[in-house]
Structure formats: C-alpha cells, structure tokens
C-alpha cells in the first residue's frame, strides 16, 4: 500500500512511520505546517509545528530513506480549528481542538490530499488500535491505558478508519521510546507535546484574551450575589476552581467552583461542589465510528481526554444523543466531547450541548 506517514517531528510518529515501512508499505513522510508563523523556533518543550519540529521529522525520514514533504495546511487549520476554538470559547463552551483537528485536518484535508495524489491511506502516531471485527474496521483503545488516544479519534467515521493506520496501538510508550532509540532516531528522548499545540505557553486564558479582548464582568454565586469580577467569561470553564480571585468568601468557607458560564450576560456563576454534579449528558454533532447504535444501549461514556469511563444508558434521538450516567460526575462543560465505548471499542462521539442533574441545568 502507498501510505502517507504524518510526521509531527515527535517520537511517536517517527516510530509509526518506521513500522509502516517495516510492514512493507511504500511510505512517504509528510509534516503538516499548521502554524501561521512556521519559521519560529521552539520556545519550550510544548507546542509543535516549529521549524525545529519539521527538521526533526525530516531527519527521521532521511534516516528511513523515505521521501519527505511539508504540506502547508496553516490556512485550513486556522479556519477549521483555531477560529472554531475561539468562537466556541466566545460562546461559553469548552472545545477540544484535537478532535476537531483530527476530524477536519488530519483525517480530512490531509487524507483527501493523499488520496488525490494516489496514496491509499494515512498512518499516524496516535495510540489507538484498529481491529477487523464484527462491526467492520473497528477503532479500539490502545493497550497502554495511560497513553490511550482513542478519545480524540472518536470523530472518525468508517470511511476515514478504512484509510487509517495507527501502528503504535499495541505498544506502550516506554517501549516506543526504547524502539526509537534502537532505531537511532534523534527524537527518541524528545519530550511529549502537551496541551494545545497552537498555544505554545499553555496559557489558554491569556491567549483567548489576546484574541477576544478583555471583557470585564461579574462573578456571581448561586443566589445572584456578586462575589468577584472577571476579565472575560470566555476564560472560564465549568468545574474550574483555581484563579477565580473571589472577593467575598462563603460564610461556611466551602470551596467554590464555576458552575456555569453565560456569555450573553458575560457572567460567571460559581457554587459549591455539590452543584457540579451531572448525571445526564446531551450531545449533538454525532459521529459514528461504525454502525450507529439502535434504540437504548448500555455503553461507557468518556467526557474528557484522560477522564474515566462512566457506565451509562445511551439513547440516540434523531440528531442528538442522551446519556444517563449510572453515577453522578462533576464539572462537565458544554463543548466538550462525549466519546462512547463498547468494551474497548469506540462506538462514536458527540459534542456536549447540555449537562444536567436532577432539577438543575448547568447550560
């Protein structure tokens, strides 16, 4: 098969490319230039898409003896991921840009370009497994539970999965690092990337403030009393406790959390932990990795990238999904993705529109 190996410059995608080559495929390395200022140097261990990352990827490709190209998808990335991210926060939601990137860039723009150029598939260094099973080409969790990235791939449909390879899913991260060292890759000890790749310093609130401007407003408690102020409600996420700077303490001294964000009124609402409880999650923008579940089914629901899987009763209702959680969980924000699992198999995903508990709506 003719395969594009997406090479970020990190250790995982390097080993993925090497494994595809070992498996006998005709492999071409492609680094995606996603940053608007690709010529910048890496400022820290975080972030990616710098000139050094492209250089690291090229070194690995040269060592493997495969062709290597940089594809400029900065404009698409800006439109489909970065601007979407800003718009979601501005609307009071908490998006996961990695899912968005996988859905719109890596397994869409990149895959489409590769197919048009005559390739058969795309391989990445994601930790997830593709298994031929009763539901066709199934997406499963990686064996390394700590590294499992099936959550951010929950947006891929059957057609995309049919054209994808995740060669690292059966291996643990330490083994991948060791394999990279054995293969003589210069990136064997390169630190993992974290957080959001286009916010190099990790300061999401500061980055958003730079885009959206300061918009001071009140922080109120559940009774409506003003207990603090903020520089923009977009910088707050349901469940957040740190950095609230509340001026009026609760008489009982209990810790308070963001319980809801109202961008229309530019207001952040805080309350005690018990108000964060959620046992019913509703989502739209349904993406099924195989056949859509029919009727009411018992599935596992994961609500954030490294969150625990919660048993749930799930019902698909037209273009939305409703998940009743067996036990209450905390801090679920609209905009996050709910990814549904049947055992280790990823069934699909949805974008959370509402998270509620008995008698209370947080969004």
């Amino acid at each position: 098969m003719r395969v594009v190996a997406a090479m970020s410059g990190g250790v995982d995608s390097a080993v993925a490319a090497a494994r595809m080559l070992d498996a006998g495929h005709d492999v071409v390395g492609v680094h995606l230039a996603l940053s608007q200022s690709a010529a910048t140097l890496r400022e820290s261990a975080r972030g990616c898409c710098t000139i050094e990352d492209a250089g690291d990827a090229r070194r690995v490709a040269d060592r493997l003896g495969i062709p290597f190209y940089v594809w400029d998808m900065a404009e698409r990335f800006k439109q489909d991921v970065v601007e979407d991210f800003v718009a979601e926060y501005a609307a009071g939601r908490t998006p996961n840009p990695c899912l968005r990137c996988n859905e719109r860039i890596k397994f869409a723009a990149l895959l489409d370009k590769a197919l048009a150029l005559g390739f058969d598939a795309v391989a990445t260094g994601h930790y997830a497994q593709i298994v031929d099973g009763p539901h066709g080409r199934e997406l499963h969790r990686a064996v390394d539970a700590a590294k499992d990235q099936s959550y951010v791939l929950g947006v891929l449909d059957a057609e995309q999965l049919a054209r994808s390879f995740f060669p690292l899913g059966d291996t643990t991260k330490p083994q991948i690092r060791q394999e990279a060292a054995e293969r003589g890759f210069s990136v064997a000890k390169k630190p993992d990337s974290h957080d959001i790749c286009f916010i190099a310093d990790g300061d999401t609130a500061g980055w958003l403030a730079g885009r959206l401007g300061a918009q001071p407003g009140p922080i109120v408690d559940e009774t409506g009393e003003v207990v603090g102020e903020h520089e923009g409600s977009f910088a707050y996420t349901v469940g957040q406790r740190r950095g609230l700077g509340l001026k009026v303490p609760r008489p009982d001294g209990a810790k308070r959390y963001v319980t809801s964000v109202d961008p229309q009124r530019n207001t952040v609402v805080v309350g005690t932990a018990d108000l964060l409880g959620v046992d019913r999650v509703v989502g739209d923008h349904l993406r099924w990795c195989g056949p859509a579940p029919a009727g009411t089914v018992r599935l596992g629901a994961q609500l954030r990238a490294h969150g625990e899987e919660l048993p749930a009763t799930v019902r698909v209702d037209g273009d939305r999904v409703v998940a009743e959680l067996d036990r209450r969980t905390r801090g679920v924000a609209a905009g996050q993705s709910i990814v549904l699992y049947d055992g280790s198999r990823v069934v699909g995903s949805a974008t959370i529109t509402a998270a509620t508990r008995v008698g209370v709506t947080t969004q």
């Binding site: 680094h31 690709a38 010529a39 698409r76 439109q79 723009a109």
Partner: protein
C-alpha cells in the same frame, strides 16, 4: 523504473570527472597557500594558476578574482561590501538600486542594510517577460546618481531564465560613477560572459552550477573598486576575504570554468534544442500549461539555453514535485521554501502574476549531462502528474 531524469541543473549540476580528478590530486598535497616555505609555495602556485585560468576565460585580470565559499558569499560581499564602503566615504550615498527578481543572496543582504544600517532601496521592476527595462534603469540611475551606493542586477534569472540588459545598465551606472554588481551565477559557463567588456564592477559566480565543486565561488572585483570586507583575519584575497584558501576546491573551480567555457558554443546549441523541444512538448499536451519568461525559439539571447519554467494552473507546485519525483523526474518549483513550505515565487509575483498563478510553478533546468531521454521522460510524466495534482489542490482548497 529506469534511471531518474534529473532536470534541476540550476540547483546543482553533475560534477565533471576532470574536476573530481583535479580535486582529488590536489587534496593529496600538503600546503597552506599563505606559507612561505616549499609546501606553501606549491599550494600558492596552484591557487594563482587557477586564478589566472578563471580570469582568462572570463575576460578579467587575475587580480580581479576573489575566491569565496560560493555564489551567496560573493553576492553578500558585493552588496554589503560596496554599500558600506561607499556609504562610509560619502554618507549621502545611502541608496541601492536593485532588481525585483534578484536571488535571495542579493535581496536578503539588501534587506539587512535597509533594516539595520539605514540604507534605502529603489527597485528595478521587470515586465511580464521577466526582463528589466534598461531605459528605465538608466533614468533611475540618473535621478538618484549622487545618492546611489550600488546598482545590482543579475545577469540571468535563476527561476525563469531571462537574460537581463547588463551591458546597458552597467554603462549607465559607469557614466554616473555608481558601482554596478551583477549576479552571474546562472550565466557563467552557459552564455558568454566577459567581465572587462560588460562594464560591471562586481560579478558573482559559483562552482557547482557549472560542474565544479559545491562550496566554492568567486567575486570578480574591478581593480579600482573598494569594498569593506565581511571577514577579518589573515588578509587573504586582497584583504577582502580572510581565511585559509581552499586550494583543492579553487583548483576544481578553475577546471570547471575552463571546461564549461571551452564547450560553451556547442553545449549552448545542444541545450537550446533540448529546451525548445521540452517547451514545445509541454505546451502541446493540452493541459493549459504556460511558459513563463521571454523565449525566442533557437536562441539564447533572451533566455538561458537550459531553462524551462512552466506554470500549471490549478496545481500546487509541491504536489507536482512529489508526483514527478515518484514518476522518476526530478525538478524544482524554482522558488524558496520557508520551513519547508513552498512560498509563491517573488519572481513570478514581480512579473505580475497573481499569488494563485504563482503556486503551480515548475522549473525544469537542463545541463551538461542532459539528454533527449530526460525531455521525453518529463513529457511522458506530466499528464498524470498534473491530473492528480489538480485533484489534490481541490481536495485541500480552503472553505470559500
């Protein structure tokens, strides 16, 4: 797949066997050309004989040949060295007159002078064919004569292969007492270049574009032209370029210049025929491919004998490169990358093409090892590559 066809001779061309032999032989000899003992004298003799050979073939005097690490260093020494020298002697001279289609080896030092040292630049525009208007250049020189520290216009463009009116612009500069530099990296060895006759004060050349080694070149500097050096140290090369001379590479450069100029007439005619065959073949494919730059069939008066530059509407140059490479054809888009991402060519933009038109560019350049089979390979590979590249372009076009 048979042997890949190499059509990127403007990037670098095959080193000549006699050059390899000369370099290998010289590398076996001990000696610093600046030393006074027997070994040093032997090295110096090789350097000076090389200098004389190059001067002879390029119509210069030996003392006008300053060896450098290549074309880029020669261009930097010319631009930075001439401007700084003239500006220091006469602070009123702060301007440069530079063509918009120069190589980055000229544009970037010019940009550095503007950004950091108070220089100002006037641009020599080109027409749709990629040629500077000599009369407009003369007028621009006349207008700013007392403020100009340097005029720089290349002999032949590296992307679209157009030859520039060097003699006319050099004469206009000479008349007004302004130093004139020409980047002749793509011209030397391909079209006749006579330094003394052409009227230039400074001329850059490179070894590896003519079958010499990479990493060596020269700046021809008229004896009465003063430059401020870029490197300081042992005072080699008329105090202009300190550093121990790379005797073997210099020997290789001289052998390459001699070989390229010896065979110039015959090779030029041969390459023109291949070039025209390639142009005709590409344009007749019915793919909407267009030729960039001036072209007169059977002639190298307005276009380098080995340069073909095509624009393929609806494609990205990097897709074409990949597909052609996979089909056994190695070529270039002609323009620079930034962090590996192809940028629209500043040359095509200067010629008046829109950003989108400038993206599907292909530069196919012929050289001393090119054959008819290379041309046939390109023509055979183009239809499939263009069709796929167009589909890929549509697949990745942004929303809109």
């Amino acid at each position: 797949m048979s042997t890949p066809a190499y059509l990127d001779h403007a990037a670098t061309t095959a080193i000549r066997p006699e050059v390899i032999e000369a370099i290998a032989a010289q590398m076996g000899h001990l000696g610093n050309a600046s030393s006074l003992h027997t070994a040093g004298r032997a090295a110096r003799r090789v350097v000076e004989e090389s200098r004389e050979l190059i001067a002879d073939r390029l119509g210069a005097t030996p003392s006008e040949v300053v060896f450098t690490s290549g074309g880029t260093e020669a261009d930097n020494l010319a631009v930075l060295g001439a401007w700084r020298q003239r500006h220091t002697v006469d602070p009123a001279r702060s301007r440069l007159l530079v063509s918009t289609i120069e190589h980055h080896a000229v544009l970037d030092p010019v940009g550095r002078l503007v950004d950091a040292e108070g220089a100002k630049v006037d641009w020599l525009e080109v027409d749709r064919a990629g040629v500077v208007d000599a009369e407009a250049a003369a007028a621009a020189i006349t207008q700013a004569a007392d403020q100009l520290a340097l005029v720089s216009m290349m002999w032949a463009n590296n992307e679209v292969g157009t030859l520039q009116p060097v003699a006319q612009v050099a004469a206009a500069a000479r008349e007004r007492g302004v130093p004139f530099h020409t980047d002749a990296v793509q011209a030397v060895g391909h079209v006749p270049v006579a330094f003394g006759e052409c009227g230039a004060d400074l001329l850059s050349l490179s070894g590896h574009k003519i079958g010499g080694p990479q990493g060596v070149g020269a700046l021809l500097v008229r004896r009465d032209v003063q430059l401020t050096p870029l490197t300081f140290g042992g005072g080699q090369e008329r105090q202009l370029r300190s550093g121990t001379l790379d005797v073997a590479s210099i020997r290789g450069l001289a052998v390459a210049v001699a070989a390229a100029t010896d065979e110039l007439d015959a090779e030029r005619a041969r390459l023109i025929a291949l070039r025209d065959k390639l142009i005709q073949g590409a344009l007749q494919l019915g793919l909407g491919i267009e030729l960039s730059g001036a072209h007169t069939e059977g002639s190298a008066e307005d276009r380098l004998p080995g340069n073909v530059h095509l624009r393929v509407p609806g494609c990205d140059g990097d897709s074409l490169l990949y597909l052609l490479d996979a089909a056994g054809v190695q070529c270039s888009t002609g323009s620079a990358c930034q962090a590996g991402v192809p940028q629209p060519s500043h040359v095509l933009l200067a010629m008046g093409y829109a950003d989108e038109q400038a993206r599907g560019a292909l530069r196919l350049t012929l050289g001393h090892t090119s054959t008819e089979a290379d041309v046939d390979a390109v023509i055979a590979a183009l239809p499939g590559a263009v069709e796929r590249a167009r589909r890929a372009h549509q697949a990745t076009a942004g929303r809109g």
